[in-house]
C-alpha cells in the first residue's frame, strides 16, 4: 500500500515528500490534483530529476530489485516493502549494493516495531522461561476465502501466495525474537481456494540454537477479521504466548526484576507502545519510518530489518519451497 507510506512520509516532521511514482493513472491524477508533490509513472525519471535522500519502494515484489538497485547506485537510502526479492540472486545483489555504498537499507517487516514482540524478545534473551524446548509461530487471516479474479497475489512467480505474503512475516519474526532458522521439514503447502498458489503453509523448523518448532500459517481463515500473528514458546520454567495486542506469560517462579508473578501474567500493547507523532493504522508503521529516518540522520547502517535480515527470510522461503512435496 504505497498510499499509506506516502501519507506517513508526508506527515513526518523530518521528511519532505518530494515525488510519488505509480502505475495507476487514477492514483496519480488524485495525487497531482490534491497533493503538493510531483507525480511520475517512470521511477527512473523520478530518481534522475530530483535530488533525493531516500526512496520508499512499495510495489509488488517483482519490481523491487531493479528499483532498489537503481536508487542505491545513486547514493539514495532505501526502504523496501516485503516480501523482499523474487529470487535469491536479486536479494543478494540488493544487499551487496547497499553494503558497498554504505547506505541505510530497511525492509517493512513491521512486527519488529510492535511492543509485545519486542518484550518477548527481551524475555527470551533473559532466559525467563528457562530452557525453551518448543515454539509455534502462527498467522491466520481472511485474504482468500473464495475463488476469485486473479491478481499478482495469486501468482507465485510474482511474489504472491501465502508463503511469500503471509508466512514471510512469521518466519521473519521467529528469526527476530528467537533465532535464525537453519532447516525445515515436513512441509505441507495447501491450496484451499487459489489455483496458482498455496493458501496455507505448515512445516517443522530447526533453529541455529538447536531449538525446533512449528510454523502454521493460513490466509484462507475467515474466522479471523484481519491478519493475526502469534508466537508461543514452551520452556522448562514457563510459557509465553504473544500476539500483536497482548502477552500471556506463565512462570513457575516469580521474577522480581521484571515484576512478573508466579503463575499467569498479562501484558498489553497499551503499556508496551511508545507514542508516535502521527498515527495511521497503528503505531508500528510510523515507528518504522521514524526509525529509518533517524538511521539516515545518524549515519547508522547496521539497522534493524536490514536487507540482509530480509534476505535470510527469503532463504527460508526458498528452503520451504524446495522441501514441499
Amino acid at each position: 500500500m504505497g498510499l499509506s507510506h506516502a501519507s506517513i512520509i508526508n506527515a513526518h516532521n523530518d521528511l519532505n515528500l518530494v515525488a510519488v511514482c505509480d502505475s495507476s493513472t487514477l492514483i496519480l491524477e488524485a495525487m497531482k490534483k490534491y497533493g503538493s508533490y510531483k507525480t511520475y509513472s517512470d521511477y527512473k525519471k523520478l530518481v534522475d530529476e530530483n535530488d533525493l535522500e531516500a526512496l520508499f519502494v512499495a510495489t509488488p515484489t517483482k519490481f523491487h530489485a531493479d528499483m532498489v538497485v537503481y536508487a542505491l547506485e545513486r547514493g539514495i537510502h532505501v526502504f523496501c516493502e516485503k516480501p523482499f526479492a523474487l529470487t535469491l540472486e536479486q536479494g543478494e545483489k540488493m544487499v551487496e549494493v547497499a553494503t558497498r555504498n554504505k547506505l541505510v537499507n530497511q525492509v517493512g517487516y513491521h512486527n519488529r516495531f510492535i511492543g509485545t514482540f519486542n518484550f518477548m524478545k527481551k524475555l527470551v534473551e533473559q532466559n525467563i522461561i528457562g530452557n525453551i524446548y518448543h515454539f509455534v509461530g502462527e498467522a491466520y487471516g481472511p485474504v482468500v476465502v473464495k475463488s476469485k479474479e486473479s491478481t499478482w497475489r495469486s501468482q507465485s512467480s510474482e511474489g504472491g501466495g501465502c508463503l511469500f505474503d503471509y508466512a514471510s512475516h512469521v518466519i521473519n519474526l521467529i528469526e527476530y525474537t528467537i533465532d535464525e532458522i537453519k532447516d525445515v521439514d515436513g512441509v505441507m503447502l495447501k491450496k484451499i481456494f487459489s489455483r496458482g498458489v498455496e493458501d496455507a503453509v505448515y512445516c517443522g523448523m530447526y533453529l541455529n540454537n538447536g531449538l525446533s518448532g512449528m510454523l502454521n500459517v493460513n490466509w484462507s481463515e475467515e474466522t479471523y477479521r484481519k491478519m493475526s500473528t502469534q508466537i508461543t514458546l514452551f520452556g522448562t520454567q514457563g510459557k509465553i504466548i504473544s500476539d500483536a495486542q497482548e502477552m500471556k506469560i506463565y512462570l513457575k517462579k516469580e521474577n522480581t526484576k521484571l515484576e512478573l508473578e508466579k503463575g499467569w501474567n498479562m501484558r498489553y500493547i497499551t503499556g508496551l507502545t511508545d507514542p508516535v507523532e502521527f498515527n495511521l493504522r497503528g503505531e508500528e508503521y510510523s515507528a518504522q519510518v521514524d526509525y529509518f529516518t533517524k538511521c539516515i540522520q545518524s549515519g547508522k547502517t547496521d539497522n534493524v530489518n536490514s536487507f540482509e535480515s530480509a534476505l535470510r527470510t527469503d532463504k527460508v522461503i526458498e528452503l520451504i519451497k524446495n522441501k514441499s512435496h
Binding site: 506527515a11 487514477l26 490534491y34 479474479e149 484481519k226 493475526s228 495486542q245 495511521l280
Partner: protein, 285 residues
C-alpha cells in the same frame, strides 16, 4: 449531540487488546437479535444514539429500527464510513479498479452510468459522493444527524495533505444529507489545524482521549490544552484505553476535560452499560 454515544466495536469483534476476546464477541453477536438486544438495553438506560461503522450487518439493524418506529422514535444513528476492512480487502484482492467496480454503482467503464462518467473524467469528488451515497443507502428513513469519516480514511487523507477532500466531504454531507460532518482521527491536533486551514469552523472531531495517552498523537498535555483552548466539538473515544484504565478513573478523567461534548463507549451487558452511564453522569456534574 447527546452526552453519551453508544459504540459498535463490541459487536464486530474489534478488541484492541485481545484477539481472543474478539473471537468470543464474534460468537456472541453472530445473530442480529443479539445486537438489537444490547442496543435495547442501552436505550432503556436512556442512551439514544448509536454510532456505528457502515458494516454490512448494520443494514439488518436498520431494518429492525424502521420496522419498529414507535420503539425507536427518538433514536439516532451516527454512521461512520467506510467500513475500512471491506475496501482494504477488496483493494488487496481486486486492485483499485476492481474495488471501484465492486462498489461504485453502475459500470465504471461505461460513460452512460453516473459512476462510469465520474471515473472516465477522473472526477474524484463525484466518485466520493457516489461512494458516500452507496454507504448511506442502508440508513434511509433513519435519523442520522452526524455522519463521520473513519479514522483510517481521515488520517490517510490528513497525512497526504489532501485538504480539499475534507472540504468537499464537509460540504456534501451538509448539502445532501442535511447533517453535520464528523471526523474520527488518531491525530486530533493536526486534523484540527488542517480543517481550520480550509475554513471548516468548529468541527465535530472524535478521537482517543484517555488518561493513559493511548493513541493520542502529541500526548495528553497537548490534548488537554487543545480541548480547553480551541474551538471544536470533541467526542472522546477509547476512554478506557482498551481496558488499560479502571472505569472510575477513566471516566473521571475524561469528564474532567470540561469542553468534551460527548463520550463514546461500547459494552455488551446491562451491568457494564449502566455502570458506565452512571459514572459519566456522576463525574459530569
Amino acid at each position: 449531540m447527546d452526552r453519551i454515544l453508544f459504540g459498535d466495536n463490541q459487536f464486530f469483534a474489534v478488541n484492541h487488546l485481545s484477539d481472543e476476546k474478539s473471537r468470543a464477541q464474534s460468537i456472541r453477536f453472530e445473530k442480529n437479535e443479539a445486537i438489537i438486544n444490547v442496543l435495547d438495553i442501552a436505550l432503556d438506560l436512556g442512551i439514544k444514539t448509536f454510532m456505528c461503522t457502515t458494516h454490512d450487518r448494520i443494514a439488518g439493524i436498520c431494518d429492525h429500527i424502521r420496522a419498529n418506529p414507535e420503539r425507536y422514535k427518538e433514536y439516532k444513528i451516527f454512521p461512520s464510513m467506510p467500513y475500512a476492512h471491506k475496501y482494504a480487502n477488496a483493494v488487496t484482492e481486486l486492485g483499485i479498479i476492481g474495488a471501484l467496480k465492486e462498489y461504485l454503482p453502475g459500470n465504471i467503464f461505461s460513460t452512460m452510468a453516473k459512476g462510469g462518467l465520474a471515473y472516465a473524467k477522473k472526477d474524484f469528488i463525484a466518485m466520493m459522493e457516489l461512494l458516500i451515497d452507496a454507504e448511506m443507502k442502508m440508513f434511509r428513513g433513519i435519523d442520522t444527524p452526524v455522519i463521520f469519516i473513519q479514522n483510517v480514511l481521515t488520517d490517510l487523507i490528513l497525512g497526504l495533505g489532501m485538504k480539499d477532500i475534507f472540504l468537499a466531504y464537509h460540504q456534501y454531507i451538509i448539502k445532501k444529507y442535511n447533517a453535520e460532518p464528523g471526523y474520527i482521527t488518531m491525530n486530533l491536533i493536526r486534523l484540527l489545524d488542517t480543517l481550520e486551514s480550509v475554513g471548516i469552523k468548529n468541527p465535530i472531531i472524535c478521537s482517543s482521549i484517555n488518561k493513559f495517552g493511548f493513541r493520542m498523537s502529541g500526548g495528553t498535555d497537548l490534548y488537554e490544552k487543545t480541548i480547553a483552548e480551541r474551538k471544536f466539538r470533541p467526542i472522546a473515544m477509547q476512554v478506557l484505553a482498551a481496558g488499560a484504565i479502571r472505569p472510575a478513573e477513566a471516566f473521571e478523567y475524561v469528564c474532567g476535560q470540561k469542553n468534551i461534548e460527548s463520550i463514546l463507549f461500547g459494552a455488551s451487558t446491562h451491568a457494564h452499560i449502566k455502570e458506565s452511564r452512571d459514572m459519566i453522569h456522576k463525574y459530569s456534574n
